[in-house]
Subunit: 538 residues, 2 copies
């Protein structure tokens, strides 16, 4: 019988196979990594590699690929090597697909004409989503699945058809249910801004990789914040659509078939416009024809005909955000107001976000966590503290069918009440708010093992509203002192309050979130364009 340790070593050795192929070998990575590893690529990569990975946004890179000013292979090799540097810096990879990516690049270069919306673009992917091809192992960072073969991922098949290059598969935490990224199989992923902080989770391999520009466009997944939290924690863009807009078919994970609450994939990227591009291309493939759970809504860009009306959620009534978050909100609000937008407050006092968490935490584990716990315990996959924390939320229980129905009814009543609050922003002149501006987390990237408040993201999963995260600022010790007069209102609030010390977070990115009504993906991204323009961005 192979022990858990032997399985772990085998998985890590398998990962080394791809990393060992990196050519030329990486040189210049220090034995002892600095706290901030963002500078590493500059000392390891060639000038040409730096140019290819830093000088273009996604759309520009696609332009030069399609014009064939650069070969797919050259671009692919640059991102492969940069991803390997990111791995050395942050431990963000489960697999570097060296041979497959170069084979794919050569094939694309051999085509008489470039073909597909993503021709030649290296796209990184969260490992548990699976991959195209028949002979792929997908572990989901669980020891029990160390040799698990998966079927096809419908969305990745579509991206493949559009000419992309898959080259890097990224880490996720045990159970894929932490806002942190750590597993017994692959260890811990660090934040490149500061290795003492988490890059967030569960798509924390993606966030670390994209922050290092080891990828310009990655695919994460989100059921409680897993795209948005890590995007905010590393200062990139991330977008969680409403569920059933794009397909999860082909992913692996616990509790397949559960319908209480769904995850959705979405883009994580250095480039705001790439979010819209990904959505548009994916929906142009009519995924509902293959996965009939998907709602057949083609991508229809939204045009605003009057100034944006934004509500600001300064806090959720449960946990007060850290000072840099509040400052970021103020800065964005000021910019929006200056640009002529109408900004009102989104008062959560009567919206009971505490209830939102009580509901969603129960909905995550309708079997009380039994399947996940059994799968870990059966192979000595030690249940990690954050896995334990989320499964042991006080609401979690193995439900009878009648209890399950009661819970889904409460969820639906909560959603209806939230919709009613949104409707109430309409003064009778067809002027309801377009979006809510809100935190993406209570703070900047947290020290490891401290991501124990999900409310600023999970709430939008519960109501199933699309949310886009965008970078705003960084923590500034001078501007963001601790508010010593604040009196926490509950235990969670105290925990979060105590966590803040500007020195700990100094220089860490601060992202915010823009949220729209269910299935208004186009509107949210169009609103983000306007907000960023108001912020002086292009």
């Amino acid at each position: 019988m192979e022990t858990a340790q032997q399985k772990i070593e085998r998985a890590k050795a398998r990962r080394e196979v791809g990393l060992f192929k990196v050519e030329p070998k990486l040189e210049g990575i220090p034995e002892q990594l600095p706290r901030n590893t963002l500078g590493l690529p500059a000392s390891v990569l060639t000038a040409r590699e730096i140019e290819l990975t830093e000088n273009y946004d996604v759309i520009q890179l696609l332009d030069i690929l399609k014009s064939r000013k650069v070969s797919v292979e050259e671009v692919t090799r640059a991102f492969l090597r940069r991803a390997a540097v990111a791995q050395a810096a942050t431990n963000c990879l489960v697999e570097l697909m060296w041979d497959q990516a170069i084979e794919r690049a050569k094939y694309l270069d051999s085509l008489p004409e470039p073909r597909g919306a993503f021709f030649g673009l290296p796209i990184s992917t969260k490992e548990h989503h699976g991959m195209v091809g028949d002979n792929v192992i997908t572990t989901a960072s669980i020891i029990a699945w160390v040799d698990r073969k998966h079927g096809s991922n419908v969305m990745y098949d579509d991206l493949w058809e559009e000419g992309c290059v898959f080259y890097a598969r990224t880490t996720q935490p045990q159970t894929i249910m932490h806002l942190e990224t750590v597993s017994n199989l692959y260890g811990r992923t660090d934040n490149p801004y500061n290795r003492d902080l988490t890059p967030g989770g569960s798509s924390g391999g993606e966030s670390a990789l994209v922050a290092m520009r080891g990828s310009l466009l990655g695919i994460g997944g989100d059921i409680g914040g897993s795209i948005r939290c890590p995007s905010a924690f590393v200062g990139i863009y991330g977008f969680k659509p409403s569920v059933k807009r794009i397909t999860v078919a082909g992913q692996t994970g616990f509790m397949a078939g559960r319908e209480t609450i769904f995850s959705t994939p979405g883009p994580m990227t250095v480039d705001r416009k790439a979010m819209e591009l990904l959505m548009r291309v994916i929906l142009s493939k009519k995924p509902w024809r293959k996965d009939p759970a998907i709602i057949p809504m083609p991508w229809t860009p939204h045009k605003f005909t009057k100034p944006l009306k934004i509500a600001v959620q300064w806090w959720d009534g449960v946990v007060m955000p850290h000072p840099p978050i509040t400052r970021a909100l103020k800065e964005v609000v000021a910019a929006c107001q200056k640009a002529g937008m109408q900004v009102i407050d989104w008062d959560c006092t009567n919206l009971d976000h505490k209830k939102s968490w009580d509901l969603i935490s129960a909905l995550y584990w309708p079997d009380g966590g039994r399947e996940a716990l059994d799968a870990m315990n059966n192979v000595d996959d030690t249940v990690l503290p954050l896995s334990k924390w989320i499964i042991e939320q006080p609401t979690v229980k193995d439900l009878t069918q009648a209890e399950l129905w009661k819970l889904t009814l409460e969820r639906d009543a909560y959603r209806a009440a939230y919709a009613k609050a949104w409707n109430a922003t309409d003064s009778g002149n067809d002027d309801e708010i377009d979006v809510i501006l809100c935190p993406a987390s209570f703070g900047a990237a947290t020290p490891h093992e401290q991501s124990k408040y999900w409310g600023y993201t999970s709430h939008w999963n519960l109501v199933d509203y699309p949310g886009a995260v965008f970078p705003v600022t960084t923590v500034d010790v001078a501007k963001d002192p601790k508010d010593l007069s604040y009196k926490p209102i509950n235990e969670q609030d105290q925990f979060i309050y105590d966590m803040y010390d500007p020195e700990v977070y100094a220089g860490a990115p601060v992202g915010l979130q823009l949220v729209g009504r269910r299935l208004q993906e186009e509107k949210v991204l169009a609103a983000l364009d306007l907000v960023e323009q108001a912020m002086g961005r292009s």
Copy 2:
């Protein structure tokens, strides 16, 4: 303690209150009803009442109401009296809302201008859906709920806002899960074409009432055929949209909160065009703003740019339809071909419709039927044979969460396989079939208690495809002899085969069904327009 019998008598007495108010009293209803009761209104109603209830389709009636050539009150009184006749003939009502309807009519007549898309139109409703207003009892034909107050039905609130008159609430069977309409609370509803036959179920009160023209437009609900079966059984139109297109919020029924399979309301009407009208008006109310479970898809009429491509499902591979159904299919196919449409076969051999039933029957009762059985047994509401039959399907069991997930995964795999078969009708020229033409039942209206094969409707609930039923012909003893050479292929097929005798069904209506892909409601109704035009209808 009040006994079950006392509760039943109380419910029936309550029903009599509304019927007793009918003014003038109904005269001319024979002590011994004829087998076919369709002629009864002619001998009871005034010429003017006959004119108002027979000379107009829904859109024409709305025209004269809006032009105020007739008062809402006169129209309402005519339909109230005709509904009372239908009740005497078929036992189709739970409540005749005499006072409320006339009060509403007077109010609408008092408005300076007609207001709303349904101004003055009497709309009948399935009782368990509830009603507008605060002081309404909704029994769902269950003794346990004989005094149950309900909240608001969101869709009915919208119809009310559009100016309709609610006046008649119709019967449904015990558990609302028979394709027959019988309960201990209100007894059995008969088919007006032939009292020995069922008007179908579970919206059998609606079908009997609409067939009698006691209503031109009613609202039914469908989770296994409950709009389409009764519509076909009485020769009217019925439309089941995909779920989550229009709201069920506010309905009562067992297993509220269950998500394995959903019901949907839909129109039942004398008038093909009224189906589209109802959908259009309901969606113009943006129900997704109040019920966020609804998909925000405005009604967008479909225009065909090339001749229809139709697949015909001659049978489902499990049970051979009775001869009149096959003849009806042939007649419609001939008309479509003559009109230049392309018709191909929909071969179910490899699509395993037996599996479809095994899945959906289990999905109906994820608690093994416990909630429903307890609710009946606790108050001596004798479990009727068809309730017992459906709850005791061999697949039904009280599921653990893990078993539930396994089942929903199988359901999703089945749906994906079905979508794949539909995709495969595309020859590569963007020419997949537009719709499937298929039976709405294995036969015409069945003798009471014999509706024990749901496959021709429930299958489309499982895959969640919209289906419209339309009248085609009637059973003709000469044209529809029993096929004595047919050898049934399984027990169910034998049961259905043995049931057929042309004499039993003589003169009964035969409807067929047109089905489209999920959420293609507009396309199905547009296709039905073309099919009926091919049949020589306007």
